[in-house]
Symmetry: C2
Subunit: 187 residues, 2 copies
Amino acid sequence: MCQLFPYAEVVTRWLEPEQQRAWRAYVRMQGELNAHLSRQMSVDSDISMADFAVLVQLTDTRDERVRVLELARSLHWEKSRISHHVARMEKRGLVRRENCSSDGRGSFVVLTDQGRSAIEEAAPAHAETVHRLVFDLLTEAEVAALGSISEKIFTRLTTGECAAVIARCDADDPMEVVPQEGGCPEA
Amino acid sequence: MCQLFPYAEVVTRWLEPEQQRAWRAYVRMQGELNAHLSRQMSVDSDISMADFAVLVQLTDTRDERVRVLELARSLHWEKSRISHHVARMEKRGLVRRENCSSDGRGSFVVLTDQGRSAIEEAAPAHAETVHRLVFDLLTEAEVAALGSISEKIFTRLTTGECAAVIARCDADDPMEVVPQEGGCPEA
DNA sequence: CGGGAATAGTTGACACATCACCCACGTTCC
DNA sequence: GGAACGTGGGTGATGTGTCAACTATTCCCG
């Protein structure tokens, strides 16, 4: 409903040639980059990008344990995705589940020793890959531009009408969605 | 920076703070944007982003038919992905297969009337979405920057060593780029 | 206290991507 | 003609993401 503009759709706004070029370049780049990062991660280590993301969240907390829903929020994943993925990671010994004593519904995802060594092994290679594929190519100005462009679009996506569609497991405060600076970030 | 991985500090190039910020912003933006575009596409029409990509390639050719491998190359998809996806699209009536008379091995993917109306219905809304989520937010300079950054990275990914990993592992040259186990299982 | 409503998390069905392997056809060279 | 090899394309198993429906617990309010 909020997504459609039924009354304003008389003439289509096609992309301008320069926008077209930029958009196609972005789409292709993003697809290739994702594919390459995933492939490189599984070559360098025994985990996937998704595993890595989960493990980063776990190592970021003091207890190396985190509630499932908090995981979902910080990763912007659906709760069922978390549930499935954690089940698979548990089967491989990277994490384990523990019941939450203070809330009978909840459960924790806990880092195992095997999970810790997995991410410690994977992280340096991943950082090196990101350097090689991205930052070695860009000037400081371009890095800044990439950051601000990304933040603009991300903010657009996570506030206002757009956020309403995304928000299923979201906090009530829309401003809280973009925390300013975290601890040791991913990558 | 990342005091969690203490033993690797000598060989590892961690990201600088500015790079860190830009990278995190990019990763999150790109994830959200993909999700939103997909969701919006299926809200506005009966096809997915992947369907859309295939249909665009088909409508771009004069005959509205294209060989499977050419489709794979222009989309940068694996051939088996094309095969599976075309099978599903065929089941839904969006395309059909035809044998290639000049090469008994080959086959064409052909746009159907239903496929044509599907993309004609989907395209304007998609263009509008891209405007709304991206280009309405960016200055001309930012559009240009996005394009050139994307092209740089894309070029890096599709030339040299990187391309070798991407290009099927049936490349004849045994290289040292990929550490033994993960790379190109031959034999 | 009791009975909804909200919350935390799981499960199953399905769509999709990847991998390894397969088959059919074409080319080359003998 | 036919073996060897490359190429175009398909198939099935498996891992992954999404949606809808479900269970179990907690919260809220009379």
